[in-house]
Symmetry: C2
Subunit: 231 residues, 2 copies
DNA sequence: TCGACCATATTCGTCAGATGTATCCCGGCG
DNA sequence: CGCCGGGATACATCTGACGAATATGGTCGA
C-alpha cells in the first residue's frame, strides 16, 4: 500500500509545515483526489484516518477543516489506545500514573486558586454522598483528578493523565474497591489530597497522591488476579 | 456519519471484549461488510483507521489480522500526535518530560544490568565521536534515552517517553544546542547520567536527568523564541 | 431596513461493480 | 525431499452514481 498512506503523509506534512494552519478548509474531495493523484476513495480513507486522529474535522455538506490541533484533541487517541491494552500491561500504565500523578498533584498545590479548591471541595462532597453508587463514584473520581491536574494549566499533561486513566481502568479499580469494602477509605484518601492542596503543601500533596495511586494499583492487582483466576 | 464510525466502534469493541484476540484473522472485507451491514468502502475506511492506530495489521493478498496490541504499537500514535502540536504547546510537552524522565531514569538506576550499562557506554562514546554531526547526535541522543528508559522494563513508559520526544522536537533542541555552542556540555550531561546509573544511585540519576531535561527545555525556549521573532 | 423563509448549489456519505496485484497454497516435477 | 509454477484468495485502487446534510443567496413580508 502506498497511495493512501502517501496521501495521509502528504496532508500531515502540509499541516506540520504550516501550509495548512488550524482552521483551514481543505479542497473538496474530488479536487484533493486530483491534486494528490489518486481516486476519491483513497482520499476518503486518508481523510478518515486523520479525522479519527482529530487532525481533521469533516463536516458533511460543508467541507473538511484542519482542527485547532490542541493537545486535548490530538492526545485523545491515547485514551482509546489504553482501553485496548491487554490486562497484563495495565500495571505498566499504573506505574506511569504513579510517576506522573503525584508530580502533577504537587504542582497543582502551587498553582491552585481558591475557586479551584472550592470546586474540588464540592466534588468531594458529591463523592461522599454517592458512596453507594459505583457509576457515580467513578464519575466524581474522574472529575476530582481531572480538576486537580487541570489546575496545573498544562493541557498536555492533563490530556495524558486523562488518557492513562481511562473509563475501563477506573471502573475495574472501583469494582475492586467496592467489593473489598475499601471505598470509604479511598474517598478519605481524596480528602487527604484535598487538605494538602488547600494547605498549598506541594510535598504533602505529592505524597498523598502517591499513596492514593498506590491504593488504586493494589486494588487493580486484586481485580486482575481474580479475573485471571476465573479462566 | 454513523455507519463507518459504527463499524470502527464495533470492531474495536469486539477486540476489547476478547472476542477477537491478538493474532485473529478478520473475515474478508466483503464478508465483513455484509456482517456489519454496510458496503465494502465503509469497511475499508474503518479498517484503515484501525490499521493506522496499529490495532489491525492488513496484509495484502493475505488478510487482516489483529495485532499483538502491545503498548509499543498502540502508543505509537502518540509520536505523530506530538509532531503535530503547535509550537506553544511544546513547552507543555517538555514539562511532562521533566516529570517523567527523571523518574524513569531513577528507576533505571535500580534495574539496569551490566550489559545495559556497557551498551550505554558505547552509545556515549559514539555520541562523543559524532560531536560535529547534528544528525548523528540526534540519533545517539535518542538511543541513549531510549536505552535507559527501556531498562525499566516498562514498555508503556518507554513508548510514552519515545512519543513525547519526537524527532522534530529533538532536532530543534539540538539545533539550539549546536548554534549555542552547548553541544559539548550537553554530551557531558549524558556522561553524568551514565555515571549515576553505573553507580546504581537512584537519586543521583534522577537529579542528573532532571538537569538534563531542564537544559533541553532551556534551549528549546531559545529556539522557539528565535523562531517566533523571525515572523 | 431587517428578518424569516425557501430553492439551489455544494460537499460529504454510501453504495455497486470492476480491474489490478500481492500473497498463499498445493500439486507436479526433478 | 525440495523447488517451482499456477490457481485461488484477498487486499488496493478506480470509476460512476445517488442520497443526505449543510451553506448560501435571493425573495418576500413586516
Amino acid at each position: 500500500m502506498a497511495l493512501t498512506d502517501d496521501a495521509i503523509a502528504k496532508i500531515r506534512s502540509m499541516i506540520q509545515s504550516g501550509e495548512l494552519p488550524p482552521g483551514t478548509r481543505l479542497p473538496p474531495e474530488p479536487v484533493l483526489a486530483a491534486q494528490m493523484g489518486l481516486s476519491r476513495s483513497g482520499v476518503r480513507e486518508a481523510v478518515k484516518v486523520l479525522e479519527s486522529a482529530r487532525v481533521l474535522d469533516v463536516r458533511r455538506g460543508d467541507g473538511t477543516y484542519v482542527t485547532s490541533l490542541a493537545p486535548r484533541l490530538l492526545l485523545q487517541g491515547l485514551g482509546v489506545a489504553v482501553e485496548l491494552l491487554r490486562d497484563d500491561t495495565l500495571l505498566e500504565v499504573m506505574e506511569v500514573r504513579r510517576m506522573l500523578e503525584p508530580m502533577a498533584t504537587g504542582l497543582a498545590a502551587l498553582r491552585m486558586t481558591d475557586a479551584d479548591l472550592d470546586e474540588l471541595g464540592q466534588i468531594l462532597a458529591d463523592m461522599r454522598a454517592a458512596a453507594d453508587d459505583a457509576e457515580q463514584l467513578i464519575r466524581y473520581d474522574t472529575a476530582f483528578h481531572h480538576t486537580v491536574v487541570a489546575t496545573t494549566g498544562n493541557e498536555t499533561l492533563t490530556s495524558l493523565l486523562d488518557g492513562l486513566s481511562g473509563r475501563t481502568l477506573r471502573a475495574r479499580v472501583w469494582r475492586g474497591l467496592i467489593e473489598g469494602n475499601a471505598a470509604h477509605q479511598t474517598i478519605e484518601e481524596h480528602h487527604t489530597i484535598y487538605l494538602a492542596l488547600r494547605a498549598r503543601d506541594q510535598l504533602l500533596a505529592q505524597a498523598s497522591a502517591l499513596l492514593h495511586v498506590n491504593t488504586s494499583e493494589a486494588w487493580l492487582r486484586t481485580v486482575l488476579a481474580a479475573g485471571s483466576a476465573d479462566e
